[in-house]
Symmetry: C2
Subunit: 214 residues, 2 copies
Amino acid sequence: MSLSPTPRSTITRLRERARSAQGDLYAVLDAGLVCHLGLVRDGAPVVLPTGYGRIDDTVYVHGSTGAGYLRIADGAPICLTVTHLDGVVYARSVFHHSMNYRSAVVHGTARAVTDPAERLAALRAIVEQLSPGSWEHARQPTPRELAATAVFGIDLAEASVKVRTGPPGDDEEDIATGGRWAGVLPVRTVFGAPEPCPTLPPVDVPAPEHVGAR
Amino acid sequence: MSLSPTPRSTITRLRERARSAQGDLYAVLDAGLVCHLGLVRDGAPVVLPTGYGRIDDTVYVHGSTGAGYLRIADGAPICLTVTHLDGVVYARSVFHHSMNYRSAVVHGTARAVTDPAERLAALRAIVEQLSPGSWEHARQPTPRELAATAVFGIDLAEASVKVRTGPPGDDEEDIATGGRWAGVLPVRTVFGAPEPCPTLPPVDVPAPEHVGAR
């Protein structure tokens, strides 16, 4: 299945970096931990980092019902962007310096999720995106915790995916001139060793598989 | 010097995570490689990842003069957000799962930079933010390359910084109950080994210090 571009989800700049398969969109979204959520408040954009989760063709975000930015979200136009930086691209010219990356930009309308079953599934997807295995391991939400949590869904119907890979695109003259290094410095996101909570009795529970083996 | 909050740069949710020193803002911005830039297009938000650089109290972004999103930027309200994910916070309850992070949100107006000296300084700052040492090592921009590049400055007068560190904030009852792991899985961004450009003669130029020792 392929993404159906609309004017705002059609990539006009560096088209060769555009990806058009639904699977590419899923892959970029599913590999992320943080998205950047854009809203319009009093005519100005606001961009905030937050966690998210995906179920089929809906991406979910959540927050406290007390969070100001979520109070304006229901029915509002929204943009959700996930970016992975994969490398710094060093060229012979400063002009051709670049980044290798994968990014997904989702344009849509925030829909307040009120159905209890969908809310629970969305929260599970958000927790599992950040910390796979946690939904089973940790204590489930109470009615009071659920009441304090706002959940929004955004349809993936209108989205674009952009990917850059590979070496720099230097000009022929600069390549011929020589004498300058060019290439890619890979960038990776890695996990360190788990740091147990100080309130955890030392011998009570070791870091479980879903944390320690990540 | 401290940040002077305006209504939109005042953190109302989880105030204990707010930082108010100018130095905190600089530190978050200076440690980043990618920002997420928010603009309003036809009433809807657009959030795009891009490089950036800072000089004193201005943060700069650039792009091709052919890029659609930059054509709408001059004089427009803009939001520039930089986020560092430092850890996944595993709590005993799914409700208290969180992230450790540092984020800066800059609200402002995009100013098209036209002065040649400021443009060059801004481009240098952007290149050096992504790849320190490259401005000296690589070929400088030609007049034609400069003409193809749009540069925008955003004043740092209106910005907020938010930082979460430390272990999860579990409820006392969950701590007392025991049996569940809690703690932080650190997240780090690391560089891999430099990958030389295939067009580089193998013995011509080794990866220079500013790349290899990063």
